[in-house]
Amino acid sequence: MGKKLRGAEIFVQALKDEGVEYIFGYPGGAVLHIYDELFKQSAVKHILVRHEQGATHAADGYARATGKPGVVLVTSGPGATNCVTGIATAYMDSIPMVVFTGQVPTHLIGNDAFQEVDAVGITRPCVKHNFLVEDVKDLAATIKKAFYLATTGRPGPVVVDIPKDVTADSTEYYYPQNVEIRSYKPVTRGHPGQIRKAVQLLLSARRPMIYTGGGVVIDNAAAELAEFGHLLGFPITNTLMGLGAYPATDKQFVGMLGMHGTYEANMAMHHCDVLLAVGARFDDRVTGDLAKFCPEAKIIHVDIDPSSISKNVPVDVPIVGSAREVLREMIKVIKEAKFKPMSRKGDPWWKQIDEWASVDCLRYDRKSKVIKPQYVIEELYALTRGDAYITSDVGQHQMWAAQYYKFDQPRRWINSGGLGTMGFGLPAAMGVQLGFPKATVCCVTGEASLVMCIQELSTCLQYNLPIKIINLNNRYMGMVRQWQEFFYDRRYSHSYMDALPDFVKLAEAFGHVGMRVEKTSGVRDALKKALAMKNKLVLLDFITDQTENVYPMIAAGKGHHEMHLAPGSGTNRELA
């Protein structure tokens, strides 16, 4: 018989055995036994956030950048409910995360006890799975199962709700090496017959297109995708979630696709005859109007989640499997076939794509004295040599970051693509910086998004996280304003950010450095100065052009071929 441990000790020991480095949390009554155990050790480092939403986004950012699961610990009731946005954010983007919520003691459950909520019930629709631990004997095995579920198959958040008495009760500790869940057997190897069929179809294509999403990033399949792409010589586009999975500076990369994707990527989608989708889910922001989606294409879809296949778009060759394994198998088959890659220069399909690209859809006014947000991102890209981690919030700034920062590596672009959560950027950057203490981590944000989790500036000070906040301050909820301009006759209903704080003083009040930049001529120097402050968090407040819009754009109900380009682009596709 081994020594008996209390639930709280088991909890901490299990995290150690799981190799957890950081736990993002906030204490409260239901988790005080656990906090007492955390106090007695230093292997698992606890990061005290200032709001539980921040804990979930920080854990999420850590997971996205490192590939390891993010771990969160919060108390019952409001602690748990404050996590819901962050859990849903991770769920929509398939991010591995384990969230531990305290719960009232088992004998009080259902009594409307102080700080009681049905955490399992509230989070059910936005988790991969969740557990209520009713007996300390189940605690260690449940923690193991939670990590196993969160990190395998299509990853996602798992919630473990732990009543206070379970953390006080004792039992023998045993942490299983492996767990078997009889109903859960993710398929990673693609069906060989389907893989051959897919390759045949690809090799016979005249206007092929490769469209890849977050699944390639999550599955660490970027190297395979690059080899695969080069073997074929086909054009490649990435979704917002997939940026960096294929090098943006590669000759075959045609930019992001979708609502604010490049003209050439979307036109190529519309005209392709064979479409290969890998680790992407045909989200409505990517497809535009489904009735007009890739009208001429035979579609191959590789995804680890069978329910993603043929969900929105009927697929001709479905392949269930992990992006990495299926790409590896496809590479073998292509090599056997001794395929000669499509010529980047001579092939008519590439000529057509280059013609589309020649409209230069990301052009903007480079001579403007008023700061153009696109310019800030371009300078940031140049000064960081494309080697920074960029987190983002939601809105115009997010799209500009995606369009103008050229991500050559996966896990560098960290944003809430699925749920579109404003407030994600700053706490996510904390997680990234903890994962990579020496790296340059920038949060590209807007003044409306930034204030949603601004309290985390304190966390940044406490743990000395030298994040660079790039605030593209247009004094508007820019993306909302843009839609109101286009679709609501310029009735800017409640989208003006009145009574904004002085961001410089605000940064200083939190113990950081703040800088305001009002002219284009000052952008480069300010960025340089901020990036040189290796040990300081710097909030750069760029006063940007209030009227700037994100182009190109596919309006609601339109197809890829019906994109609008920026005014002044000299085409009949202007939207204004």
Binding site: R182, P306, V320
Partner: protein, 195 residues
């Protein structure tokens, strides 16, 4: 089209609400749903009747399979099957009407299981369609209460859904979904195991 899904579910608190929640969250339709224990105390059997186009049914099956608490499921409509539902129906039965109701119950092979001066309770089993037809055949003004269990179903022949029999036979799925089925394809069945 109407489909009957037979599901083996972990007998865990919350498993039922995961299934019910899935249907409401994704706006899938539930016509009826029954859950009961099985011979294995860790497993419940759910029979769920739903309807939708082939694409929707395919999504429903995939989404159900994705739930961690769902161990196995079959779409009974993929092969020959039997469906049964139990109904208890309380009707007014007075004077001359008593004979009429009794005759009708006999025609439908129902049993009268409770009698008062003014009412009968009739027990009837059969397909959902048959129960509908019985209700239809009665004078509406006589019906006091209708209690239906929802449909149970079972495949005909050797096809079976069970944990102890390591496998089930099922017809080859259509080409579109061939590789898209998550849970590993079952090994061939040995009919000797099915008795």
């Amino acid at each position: 089209m109407r489909h009957i899904l037979s599901i083996l579910l972990e007998n865990e608190a919350g498993a039922l609400s995961r299934v019910a929640g899935l249907f409401s969250a994704r706006a899938f339709n539930i016509e009826s749903l029954t859950v009961a224990p099985t011979e294995d105390p860790t497993v419940s059997r759910m029979t769920l009747v739903t309807s939708g186009s082939d694409e929707i049914i395919e999504q429903i099956v995939k989404q159900l399979n994705k739930l961690i608490d769902v161990i196995k499921l079959i779409d009974l409509n993929e092969g020959a099957h039997i469906e049964r539902e139990l109904m208890l129906i309380k009707v007014m039965a007075r004077d001359g009407g008593r004979e009429e109701v009794k005759r009708m119950a006999e025609i439908f092979r129902g049993r009268i299981i409770d009698v008062t001066d003014t009412t009968y309770v009739i027990e009837l089993t059969g397909t959902g369609e048959k129960l509908d037809a019985f209700i239809e055949a009665l004078d509406k003004s006589l019906i006091l209460e209708v209690v239906r269990t929802g449909v149970s179903g079972i495949a005909r022949g050797t096809r079976a859904l069970s944990l102890h029999i390591p496998s089930i036979t099922r017809p080859a799925p259509p080409a579109r979904t061939e590789a898209a089925t998550a849970k590993p394809a079952p090994a061939p069945v040995n009919p000797d195991h099915l008795l």
